[in-house]
Structure formats: C-alpha cells, structure tokens
Amino acid sequence: MNMETIVKEKGKRTSVPILPPISGDGRGKGGWGGGMPPGRSHYSLPIHPAKFGLWLFIAASVMLFAAFTSAYIVRSSAGDWLQFGMPSVMWYGTGALILSSVAVHFALKSIKAGKIDLFKKAMLLTVALGGVFIAGQFLGWAQLRASGLYLDTNASSAFFYMLTVTHIVHLIGGIIALSLVTTKGLLGRYNENNCLGVELCATYWHFLDVLWVYLFIFIIIT
C-alpha cells in the first residue's frame, strides 16, 4: 500500500481513521526487530474495514461449501447413489439470480455516478429478481417431492437439499440486507459519496450468485 492509494481512497471513504493523519516518508528500511524510523501512521488496508470483514466472512462461507462439496464427491463415489436431474424450474431461478447480480451491479454503477433514480429502480429490480429465485427454489423442491425425492430418500437427494437450503439461508440474509439498503435508498439516504451499504450488499450478492452457479454446475456434472 502506498500514499497514492490512501489519497485515492479518501474520496470514497466515509470514515476517518482513528489515528492522527499520515506523515513520514514510508516504511524505512523495514522494521524487523526495530531501530528503524517509524513509517506511516496507520497501516490501513487499501479497502474499507467493513468490506474486508465481509471478504473474510465470504472466505469462511467458501470453506463451509468446500467441505460440503468435498463430502459430496467422497460420498457419491461410494455407490448407492441415486441419479436425478435438476428440477427444470431451477434453471429459470438460476437465470433470475444471474440477472439480479447484473441489476445490483448496475445499481452500484448508478449510485456512484449520482443517478439516484436509476439506482432506486435497479435496487427494486434486484430485490424482485432475488424473490423470483427464492420462489424458483421452493417450486423446484416441490417438483422433487412430487417425484418422490425427499431428504431421506437417498444420499444424493440429502446432499441436494442440504446444499440448496444452506445456500438459500445465506441468500435470505442477503435479501434482508438488500431490502434494508433499498428502503434506505428510497428514503434518499445514499449518494455518490456515501454508498458503503450498497457496495457491501452488491459484493455479498455477487458472491451468492457465483456460489449458486458453482453449486448448480457441480450438481449437474456429478
């Protein structure tokens, strides 16, 4: 990280570092063990702490799903594994989720460009498409149940329900956050200098989208 990044970031930042402003001429010759002149005041990452925290949360979620899908591979290769196709309605839901990811990206672009009206519309569209995805998942589960596939029917159906439900639990958290941000947006709380909430929401929503596409492809090819 260097001086320029901090200055560049400053425009975007809503928070003021706790510590006194930056001075000094950099890190010196490196501080292993001591004796070097002090470097910068405070070694903030070139990313907002809340965003960094979110990325750490995403890393933890990735580990959760990595564990699930590794177990899936191990278990599916052990035999007694019932093959079944993805419920057709989930394809539409997947399409809606990908579109919602595009919409939230558009919303973020709009708010950063100061186009508040577009931002509001795009946020509403995102929430609506997220709703479509959730509806699609419920309909998909209903299709599976209608064809006699329950959680305890076979290991494959157990994994299917577990993966999709765990994903949707994460997604419901995302849609609550999206709704809050959209409400605040409609009340005019965000503008091009103050849109951290939108950025966090967008990042998390993209993650949910990518995660779902991964799970979707994973289930189809295995």
Binding site: Y43, G53, L56
Partner: protein, 595 residues
C-alpha cells in the same frame, strides 16, 4: 459497523457508564477479554471436577463413593459411576477443556485483551460484533451446561463425536438429547469464533498505530492473528460436519451411517453412509484447532520469556516464520489421526511426512526460547515460571508426537494411554500453562493490582510437578497397550497390573487439582486486595505498558496513541538509560523521523 464507530467510543470514558454497559454488554475489548477469562475459569473448574470423577473411578473401580451419588445423582446410583456415564463425563471433560477452556481462555481472552493494547488501537475494528462474539459463546456455554440436566445425560461419543455412536439416538443414553445439545452448542461456538476471528484479523491489519509495522508486532499479536486465520478457515468445516450429523440424527439421512447396522435386534434403514467421512471432516478441523489453542500459548510464552529474561527474543523473525509454518502444515496433517482407519498405506506415509515436518518449526521455537534464556538475567516471576514450564511440557509432549506421527508406531500406540499422555502434555497442560503465564503476567494491566508472587510460585511448583506425576506414568501404560476411554481395568491381567499406578495418578490428580485453589484465591483476592500495580511493573517494552493508568479505561490511552519507533523486545540494550527501551522511545531518531 466500521472504524468510525470505534472512534466514537473513544469519548465513552468521559461519561459515566451504567453497570450493564460497563460489565455486561460491554463494547470494551478489555472487558470482553475478562468476560472470556472468567467464563473459561469457571469451565476449567467444571472440567477439572469431571477429571476427578474419572480418575477416582479408574483408581477405585466398583467401590462405593458416597459423594458421587450426592453430586451426580442417578449417574452414580449407590455411589458407583455407571459405565455409560463414565464415557459421558469423559466426553464432556474433553469438549469443555478444548473449546470452552483452552480456545476461549487463550484466543478469546488474550486476543481481545492484548491486540488493541499491543498494536496501539482504541478498540477492536468492530466492537459490536466483538460483544456479540462473547454473548454467542455464552449461549453456547449455557446450551452445553444444559446437556448435563437432560434425562439421558450429556453427550457420550467423545469430544470427536465419531458416528455411528454420535449419530444413532438409540445407541447409548448420551446419543440422544445430550448429543443434539452438544452439536447445537458447538454450532453456536463456531459462530462466536467466526465473529472473533473476523475482528482480530481486521484489527491487526487495519488499526496499528504509527510506526507499528508488522515486523514490530509483539509475538502474542502475531500468534493470535495466525490462530484467527486458522479459526476462520477451519471452523466452517466443522460446522458442515455438525449440520450433516444433525441431519443424520434427526432427519434420517445417511451421510455417516453405513448400511446394515443393527441396534439391538432391529436393522436400521440407513444406506451406505461413511463414518470415515466424518473423521476426515472432523480432523480437517481438529488438527488446526490444536494450533488455534497452541499458537497463542506459544506467543504468550515468547513475550513473557523475553521480558523476564531481560533479553531480546532470540530469532524474532524465525519465531514468526515458525508460527506461519506450523499454521500452514496444520491443514495437511489431519490423516495422522486416522492411521488405523483403513487408510491406503501410501497416503498414510504422506501424512507421516507432513506430520514429522512440524517438528522443524517446533524445534525452531524451542531452541529460540532456550537461547533467549541462555545467560539472561532471569526474573523468576510466576508468569516466567509458567512460561518456562510451558517450554518443558512442549518438549516432553512434542517428543512423543514424533512417535505418534509415525504410522508404524502409531498403529501400535493408537487409542492407548500413550496418546492420552501425549496430548495432555503438548496441548492440554502446555496451553494451560500459557493461560496461567498470561494471567500472572497481564493481571496488573487487567485489574491494576499485583497478584502475590509467593503464592504464584507455590502454585507453579505444585502444578508443574503434579502434571508430570499425573501424565508421565501414562506413557508406560500406553506402551504396554492399556487402552484409553475404558471404564475400568479390572478385566484383563495386563491392565490389572497398573492398579497401583492408577491409584498414584489419581492421588496426584486430586492434589494438583486442589492446588488450583491457591490460584483462585490469589486471583480473586488480588483483584480486590492486591498491592496497587505500577503502570509497568515488569519493566516491559511493549505498548500496553505505556497507558496512562495502570488499569486503562475504554479508549486505552487518554491522550494521543503513542507512536512506535522500535521492536518489541529491546532489553539490556547497552545505550539505554535502563535495561529496557520502550517501543515508544524515540531516542536516536531525528526530529523529522519523529513527526
């Protein structure tokens, strides 16, 4: 939640706080650290009580112990502990000690208390999440405690919760409600740990004061930081396993339960699950967990040894590199817990290699501690004694680790008392000594008073000698094949010969346990009646000793946060006025550098 909120809290110290906001739902990292510490100490007493019950049973099997019936009720009717509850006591002892005492007592306590003070921050990056972290942990504690009071008793499948025992509710009494509460409690604990890890990582990377480069951070901060990364990546894997186990238990899936299993005379309807899969998932988490506990203890040990030997820590960089190496290796060694699970011998040999590799960074640490002590001006404070004790226990337990890491030897020693001795030395006792070293060393900063040094030394010697008397004989039992987790050793001739040794171990356990009363009286007594502490009683060089008050308020420093000019261990430097130079000392730097 962001750093602006942390900065808002700076002002809090000036206006009066209510009892609830100061002591209960506190945002102050120091109070949260103390909450973790007190909760962990209470759990330690419960965990120790359970070990007494087990030891008395092993030394005097079949004899009526009236107090058992008084304390344990139907678990010990007629004063004889029932076998199914012996295994439940053992399970709860392990679970409580690993999660609620060692993890909470080290990462929770010292992570919270020390990180902001040692890096020069007002508080954690997300104080609200920090508060939630403690209260989620508290909720996990309550759920775990409740499981003692359900009709079928607490979980009884070991702290590793291997299925099918843990997955079939009808297997033994503890597999029912007790096991479900166990899984729920662990899930809550995982959430709490995730909150904590998030905070530690963001705080260390974002809130260091001016001049506090990564290369000037005290080793305690480095250790907790690395442990937090391990926790962030390892705990979600356990959560995945816990979810699958709960589904197996309650919703009739068969992730872990194989086909063709009978309970009593009834064939169960499960199909094709794999108990070994649970072992993979559990130990992929379980081995990093060992280091989530061990690394902070090793960090505390390094800080205390450097301070009390009045020498710069030998090989500061090597110490950090070895922490990183241990952390990395911890993710690729889980198979060494499973050498007898029917694993492909070639795969086993890969795990042998990675496991034995851990000996290298561990030896780096030990030699660096020894060379730091070498010709130091050692101040035998209780904290220092416990840190040196940790080095001894770490060597003893580490050496047996080399035996157990080798598949051919492990196959012989697996599930014997040799393993019990090994992990009680290297993980249990060594990490406990880290907690004691940390408490004795930072107590003046926590409560503004000194603990009694004399009673601290008596506590140390009784505990240190006691640990060796308890666990060392177990090596001999283990090498002759005495299995662990047995209710009694009265059935086989080769185990019966250890009757006298078991009695000896039990007496040592009772005495060592009773010696902890000395610590408790010293701890709680000094909190109220101890000698008032100076700001820097140990003449240490790190930032936490530069606060304005001996017991800093919320915000830590009243004025500006000090600037750091040098590394954390400048002791006995020839050009210093005293035999140490504070990290904030700017002597020798030009005016330009200071600004």
């Amino acid at each position: 939640m962001s750093s602006e909120q942390a900065s808002l809290h700076v002002d809090i110290e000036h206006h009066k706080e209510s009892f609830i906001s100061k002591y209960i739902f506190s945002y102050d990292h120091k109070m949260i650290g103390k909450q973790y510490m007190i909760t962990a100490l209470i759990w330690a007493l419960i965990g120790m009580g359970l070990s007494w019950v087990m030891r008395i049973q092993l030394a005097y099997p079949g004899q009526q112990i009236p107090i058992f019936e008084t304390l344990l009720g139907r678990y010990a009717e007629g004063g004889i502990l029932a076998p199914e509850y012996y295994i439940a006591m053992m399970t709860m002892h392990g679970t409580i000690m690993v999660f609620f005492v060692l993890t909470a007592g080290l990462v929770g306590t010292f992570g919270n208390f020390l990180i902001p003070l040692q890096i020069g921050a007002r508080d954690m990056a997300f104080p609200l999440i920090n508060m939630l972290s403690y209260w989620t942990f508290f909720l996990a504690s309550v759920v775990m405690l409740l499981s003692f009071f359900v009709e079928s008793g607490p979980a009884a499948a070991g702290w590793t919760a291997y299925p099918p025992l843990s997955a079939l509710s009808s297997a033994i009494p503890g597999s029912g409600a007790g096991q479900s509460l166990w899984l729920l409690s662990i899930a809550l604990f995982i959430v709490s740990s995730l909150f904590g890890s998030l905070n530690y990582i963001v705080t260390v990377l974002n809130l260091r004061t001016k001049g506090m480069t990564l290369g000037r951070m005290p080793l305690t901060v480095w250790a907790v930081f690395i442990a937090a990364i391990l926790g962030l990546l390892a705990f979600p894997v356990l959560l995945a396993g816990a979810i699958m186990l709960l589904l197996d238990k309650h919703l009739a899936t068969s992730f872990f339960i194989p086909a063709g299993l009978y309970v009593g005379d009834a064939l169960l309807s499960y199909e094709g699950g794999s108990p070994i899969l649970w072992q993979h998932i559990f130990w992929f988490f379980g081995h990093p967990e060992v280091y989530i506990v061990a690394l902070p203890a090793l960090g505390i040990c390094s800080e205390v040894i450097a301070t009390c030997a009045r020498k710069p820590l030998f090989g500061y960089k090597a110490m950090i590199a070895s922490l990183l190496a241990i952390a990395f290796l911890s993710f690729i060694v889980w198979g060494h817990h499973m050498f007898v699970s029917g694993m492909n011998p070639f795969l086993g040999s890969v795990f042998v290699l990675t496991t034995i590799l851990i000996a290298v960074p561990s030896a780096v640490k030990v030699f660096n501690w020894l060379t730091t002590l070498w010709r130091g001006k050692i101040h035998y404070t209780p904290g220092m004694l416990f840190a040196m004790g940790l080095v001894s226990l770490f060597i003893t337990g580490g050496l047996t680790g080399i035996f157990l890491g080798n598949a051919p030897i492990d196959i012989q020693l697996h599930d014997t008392y040799f393993v019990v001795a090994h992990f009680h030395f290297v993980m249990g006792a060594a990490a406990l000594f880290g907690i004691f070293a940390g408490i004795y060393h930072w107590f003046p900063k926590m409560y503004g008073r000194m603990m009694s040094n004399m009673w601290g030394r008596i506590h140390f010697w009784l505990t240190f000698v006691g640990i060796y008397l308890i666990f060392f004989p177990m090596h001999f039992m283990g090498t002759t094949g005495v299995p662990r987790r047995y209710y009694a050793f009265t059935e086989f001739e080769y185990t019966m010969q250890y009757g006298g040794m078991n009695e000896f171990i039990t007496i040592a356990t009772l005495i060592t346990g009773a010696a902890q009363v000395i610590f408790l009286v010293n701890f709680f007594g000094s909190m109220f009646f101890g000698k008032k502490a100076e700001t820097n009683p140990w003449k240490a060089a790190t930032l936490e000793w530069t606060t304005d008050d001996p017991m800093p308020g919320h915000g830590n420093w009243k004025g500006e946060i000090p600037t750091v000019y040098r590394g954390p261990h400048e002791y006995s430097t020839p050009d210093g006025k005293e035999d140490f130079i504070l990290q904030t000392d700017s002597t020798g730097f030009g005016k330009m550098d200071k600004e």
